[in-house]
Amino acid sequence: MSSATTTEETHAAGGHGHGSKYPFLAHHFDTPAHQFDSAKLGMWIFIATEILMFGGLFVAYGLFRGQEQEMFHQAHERLDKIMGAVNTVVLLFSSLTAALAVRQSQVGDRKGTTRWLIITLLCACIFLVVKFFEYQHKFHDGLLPGHYFTAHLAQHAHHGHVLPYRAHMFFALYFMMTGLHGVHVLIGMGVLTWALRRNLNGKISKQYFTPIEIGALYWHLVDLVWIYLFPLLYLVG
């Protein structure tokens, strides 16, 4: 994406070849449609690789859960369903606003695009704040992956409800899956901020809304992953 941008800006500055009809058109593309289709095809291939990367974690989840159903069920009850549900609604709403940003850019409404992109970014912030409080609570309870798991010590001290043996495996998966997803939220915020900047700089038009479209596709992927993470981790364990 960045290399295409550089090429395009170099081209716009150099001004050779295409004249002024399509200032956004990089010289290695024949037409705006050619450029748009190429960018989108590349993004979809990237999305496929992202699905496969998260897929590894989902496979690990599925196999361990098959062996440790009782442990997974008891451990998942330590997650906060309500916070997870709130975050689900926040992300679904941000997907809607991202789609609306694309829609407004398609009809050439720059202000509308800016508005929806900012709302999407605000939703991303809300998501991360909720996640922060969830993580803070898990850290406090010692519900951490692998040998960092210390919840059993606190349970012995307070004679509380004892988590089943190997519960650290569940929290390892929980932190790896939500952690990788959280990194994607941060990257997605970066991509959307980049798209927003281009929109504010007047680079986006009815003819050229690729940055908004591509940024929104990435954001929808973040939403898609969470659509599966939420029920598997918070609801059924």
Binding site: G17, P32, A33, F36, L92, L96, Q207, H220, Y228
Partner: protein, 168 residues
């Protein structure tokens, strides 16, 4: 579609034909905002359903319902928010192709693990039912109930080469 231009000075008086974009310009399929809000409403309803169902004990059907509802939600997002509907079919093929390969990944991994017999309750090691020899890839199993770490190391040194040759 023509090949890449090496000549920067070439003009585009005769733009090459790109399927669906005869004039070479980008024509988006613009959805109405109301339609998109309706999709969002459907996603919220499905979220409420999946949370509500999680409070009812349906046994193993809970997992099935959760994955089914998640898949419906994901399909709605991909089809309408990600514009797979009305888009070039290659995008949908790539997207669904990723899930096909994920299915192969899950299927083969599950076949591997599910045919490794019982799980040792202490170490999470897998043993072969027939001989009790530790399966390749598993952790070492202590020899007896009173085994200490030293005993484990002992077993590791002696039994494993024997067991490995027996099972090939």
């Amino acid at each position: 579609m023509s090949t890449a231009h090496s000549d920067h000075t070439s003009d585009h008086a005769t733009p090459p034909q790109v399927e669906g974009h005869e004039d070479g310009e980008v024509h988006a399929h613009v959805n109405s905002p109301l339609f998109m809000i309706a999709i969002f409403a459907a996603l919220i309803v499905l979220t409420v359903i999946t949370v509500a169902v999680s409070y009812v004990d349906l046994g193993s059907a809970n997992t099935f319902v959760a994955i089914l509802v998640a898949t419906i939600k994901a399909s709605l997002v991909a089809t309408f928010f990600m514009h797979l509907k009305g888009d070039k079919s290659i995008h949908a093929i790539i997207f669904i192709g990723a899930f096909v390969f994920l299915g192969i990944f899950i299927g083969l991994s599950n076949d591997d693990l599910s045919t490794r017999h019982e799980v040792d309750s202490v170490n999470g090691a897998r043993r072969l039912d027939t001989t009790g020899v530790v399966a390749p890839g598993g952790l070492q199993v202590p020899a007896g109930p009173a085994s200490a770490p030293e005993a484990t190391q002992h077993v590791e040194g002696v039994q494993n080469p024997h067991g490995a040759s027996e099972h090939h």
